[in-house]
């Protein structure tokens, strides 16, 4: 993550992520450039064991690609496979 300026994002957790993280929301300071880098960093720190190929990511309430750049002030949500209905 070297070479990318530090930014602070808000992580919101739902369902299995909420349970794994133990909180609904937290600020996170990171040098990650993309959503994928951010997820790898958080998963390592938090010990998440989700298979990333099954997950999606939303930035500022829109589902985006994992290569989307993360910027200061973003709200980021990791989405496990949906199970409504």
């Amino acid at each position: 993550m070297a070479g990318s300026p530090l930014k602070t994002v808000t992580l919101c957790y739902y369902a299995a992520f909420r349970e794994a993280a133990g909180v609904r929301e937290e600020p996170w300071s990171s040098g990650a450039r993309t959503a994928a880098e951010l997820y790898a960093e958080i998963a390592a720190r938090r010990g998440f064991r989700f298979d990333r190929s099954t997950l999606k990511v939303a930035v500022n309430d829109q589902v985006v690609s994992w290569e989307t750049a993360v910027t200061d002030g973003d709200t980021v949500v990791f989405l496990a496979p949906f199970a409504g209905g």
Binding site: Y14, F50, T54, P81, A83, G84, G85
Partner: protein, 160 residues
């Protein structure tokens, strides 16, 4: 006049609520009202289910759910569509999701109702945690399998 839209509810969709929803789907042009209720079943994947919890990501649920409703109501012959999905704790037999579609004739109303439930399940960010009779519980699909993640005792929160 009917009310279109997608919403989340933390209140039970009991007989009174469901009746009010059906009554809201009114149009003098409608020859058919098709409704679907998804209910909490007492078994899944061979295990005895005693209840469940739905968690939802509200902002994205409302935009994606509304998109599904808009697509349904854009279909020829469809006059209105509405979907309410529960969040929170539910017991076996409770209504988890209610869908109503009105159309000029039954065929388009049946097809659009089917479209709404299929797309809501596929696209709307809602998650389900099942509680089992053996004291364990798990979020469905959290390990990517479509089944409950390995059960863990309900009273000792997992770490990671």
């Amino acid at each position: 006049m009917s009310v279109d839209g997608f919403s989340l509810s933390d209140r039970p969709l009991d007989a009174t609520a469901v009746s009010a929803l059906s009554s809201s789907m009114a149009s003098s042009h409608a020859g058919a009202l098709v409704t679907f209720e998804g209910r909490v079943r007492d078994t899944n994947d061979g295990r005895t289910v005693i209840g469940l919890e739905y968690d939802a990501y509200p902002a994205l649920c409302l935009t994606e759910g509304q998109a599904v409703i808009d697509e349904a109501t854009a279909r020829p012959g469809v006059l209105g569509a509405r979907c309410v999905h529960r969040v929170g704790n539910l017991a076996v037999g409770d209504v988890a999701v209610w869908i109503g579609v009105i159309g000029g004739h039954r065929e388009e109303a049946f097809a659009a109702c089917r479209y709404v439930i299929d797309e809501v399940k596929r696209r709307v960010p809602i998650w389900k945690k099942e509680r089992y009779a053996d004291g364990t519980s798990g979020w469905i699909g959290a390990d990517g399998s479509g089944r409950a993640a390995p059960g863990r005792p309900t009273r000792s929160p997992g770490h990671g």
